[in-house]
């Protein structure tokens, strides 16, 4: 491989990402408009400077579409689940019920925007927590823009060990870590420490958004307790069983939250009247008598089904092994650039196991929920058709942007642009690279819309760089996946999921603009901690 690694080639690899960020943040373009421009530039730089041919571009595009379709079926089923609950007006019941159980409005926002999202992220992932969480928050009176921002931040800590640790497994596979070895456990420990830092920031940020200093003061005890359970619990469990390291603490925090709601600090009605994230008119004007006989437990029925199915299928090994044997992927030939950058042939690229895939759990939960609500008369005749039509209408337009981003990342990876981008950073910064290690993970998550894909993309690069520069491998890998988790807050794919279900599609740039400072600061903070750890070790 002779890809020249110099400033010009690095700048060309950077160009699509810079243009994408400028279009979305500065010019407030929606993802559906910005993604094709980023893609077009990637194609141009790939052809003109990285010497790719049409076969390579077409092959990487097809890989991108396949990967996007796998993501989009989750999007569709997540939206379907939302539409089922929405058609039955279950969100009104959830909102009213939660308001009764949690009279403190700040605790209610923390519950619906952070703790419930963490629970969903623990089992589902792939943006489901954001897709489901955004309309739930709108349902309790949060303004749509903030209803997208809060779950984006709230779910991110669970990205590495959530979805039953799929992103963690990708990192260990990519970096060649053997389960149970010292390096494996140390990496898990570092990852959990960095993610805990982000978890604390998450809670504090949500309080700040809700009511600045006043809410921060009121919410601090709750944030510390929840973070101790989530971040601390995850840290301990990573040394025992990484698969449940996120899910178990997320479940415990959900239970503890309701206990918190009965304590002296939070048991009384409390709110910040001029909170910038709340739509006061909405919460006062929306009451519906058609759901009077629906209890809170019944409103959560589809989500309970989702939890049970997911746990049964993923945690009972014989069932998982039986259902997991049905899988299919696509075959792709070897492709290479004129520089000799090779993409190896694959007999079964990114195989899909439909019966253990999150979309199957979501689909079953949606259908069972639909039948249940229909049987009780909460979904009227004609409602079933509306649920399916609306879910498809919402999924397909946002699908264009998801496809665009994933093709862009595949072409960048396949032409060697990603490799040049990462190597350039490492070559210039030396030991100082430690500060940027989580930023690389974050960048990977931004480009691929996935912590898992970021780890696959940069895991090997991070371990190579750490070895080249003589840095602590476990800490660098921990920072990579923590950066990937933090980066999930700015994943265009996740943002689109939120804006779609919160019905503000096209406002992705505005969401990105609000989130970017906190995400970038957190990633750099993790980098600084890592840097000083290395210096003083």
């Amino acid at each position: 491989m002779n890809v020249p690694i110099n400033l010009f080639m690095w700048s060309m690899a950077c160009l699509p990402i810079v243009v994408l960020l400028v279009l979305m943040i500065k010019f407030q373009w929606g993802a559906t408009e910005a993604a094709p421009i980023g893609l077009l530039i990637t194609v141009f730089t790939g052809l003109a400077f990285y010497k790719a041919d049409i076969k390579l571009l077409a092959s990487e595009s097809a890989k991108g579409i396949w990967s996007a379709l796998v993501v989009l079926i989750i999007v569709w089923t997540a939206i379907l689940l939302y539409e089922v609950a929405n058609e039955a007006k279950a969100f009104l019941v959830i909102r009213n019920g939660m308001q009764k159980l949690l009279p403190n409005e700040l605790l209610l926002v923390i519950a619906m925007g952070w703790v419930f999202e963490s629970f969903l992220q623990g089992i589902t992932g792939f943006g489901v927590a954001v897709a489901v969480g955004a309309p739930l928050l709108v349902g309790i009176g949060v303004l749509p823009l903030w209803a997208v921002i809060i779950p984006l931040i709230g779910h991110a800590w669970g990205n590495t060990f959530g979805t039953l640790a799929v992103a963690w497994d990708a990192l260990t596979m990519s970096a060649g870590l053997e389960p149970g070895t010292e390096l494996y456990l140390q990496t898990a420990l570092w990852a959990a420490i960095f993610i805990w830092v982000w978890n604390v920031i998450t809670g504090l940020a949500i309080c700040w958004f809700y009511g600045k200093g006043k809410a921060l003061k009121k919410g601090l005890p709750a944030v510390l307790i929840i973070s101790l359970i989530q971040g601390g619990g995850q840290l301990i469990l990573t040394q025992i069983n990484t698969t449940i390291a996120c899910f178990i603490p997320a479940c415990i925090s959900l239970v503890v939250l309701f206990v918190l709601g009965r304590t002296k600090i939070y048991k009384d009605k409390w709110s910040v009247e001029d909170s910038r994230i709340m739509n006061r008119e909405f919460t006062e004007d929306n009451s519906d008598k058609s759901t009077q006989n629906m209890s809170l437990v019944q409103a959560f029925f589809p989500y309970a089904i989702l939890t049970v199915i997911t746990l049964v299928v993923l945690l009972i090994a014989p069932i998982k092994a039986f259902l997991g044997q049905f899988s299919f992927g696509l075959a792709f030939p070897e492709t290479s650039t004129a520089y000799g950058f090779v993409n190896e042939a694959s007999a079964s690229f990114s195989p899909l196991s439909p019966f253990t895939h999150a979309s199957m759990f979501l689909l079953i939960a949606s259908l069972v929920g639909l039948l249940y609500f229909r049987k009780h008369g909460w979904i009227k005749a004609g409602g079933c058709r509306a649920v399916f039509v609306q879910s498809i209408q919402k999924t397909v337009p946002s699908g264009i942007a998801v496809i665009g981003f994933i093709i862009m990342s595949k072409i960048m990876g396949g032409t060697g642009q990603t490799m040049v981008l990462a190597n350039g950073i490492a070559n210039v910064l030396g030991t100082g690279y430690a500060v940027l290690a989580p930023v690389v993970g974050m960048l990977g998550a931004f480009m691929t819309s996935s912590n898992m894909a970021s780890n696959i993309l940069f895991g090997e690069f991070q371990i190579t760089t750490a070895n080249l520069l003589g840095l602590k491998t476990a800490a660098i890998l921990g920072a990579q996946t923590a950066g990937g988790a933090i980066g999930n807050t700015i994943c265009p794919g996740n943002i689109i999921l939120g804006t779609t279900t919160a019905k503000i599609l096209g406002k992705e740039g505005l969401v990105l603009k609000k989130i970017m400072p906190i995400t970038l600061s957190a990633a750099i903070l993790v980098g600084i901690i890592l840097f000083f750890t290395i210096i003083f070790a």
Binding site: P36, A58, I65, A331, G404
Partner: protein
């Protein structure tokens, strides 16, 4: 007020673009399987064209109206 059919709305047009991308995907897979570069090229051009529909419509067609 005249009610637009779904396929005349932006969402509907994007749905058509989505289906074109799926057709292009099949073309590329077929082209890669048969080592036919023309099919790969056609599929790739279709993808780029379908992807560019939204910015073209929003920033050129609608601005010129």
């Amino acid at each position: 007020m005249e009610k637009k059919t779904f396929f005349k709305t932006l969402e509907g047009e994007l749905t058509i673009a989505f289906f074109i991308i799926i057709i292009a995907f099949v073309l590329i897979l077929f082209g890669l399987n048969k080592t036919n570069e023309e099919l790969c090229l056609s599929g790739f051009i279709l993808i780029v064209a379908a992807m560019l529909f939204s910015p073209f419509k929003v920033f050129i067609l609608q601005r010129n109206k």
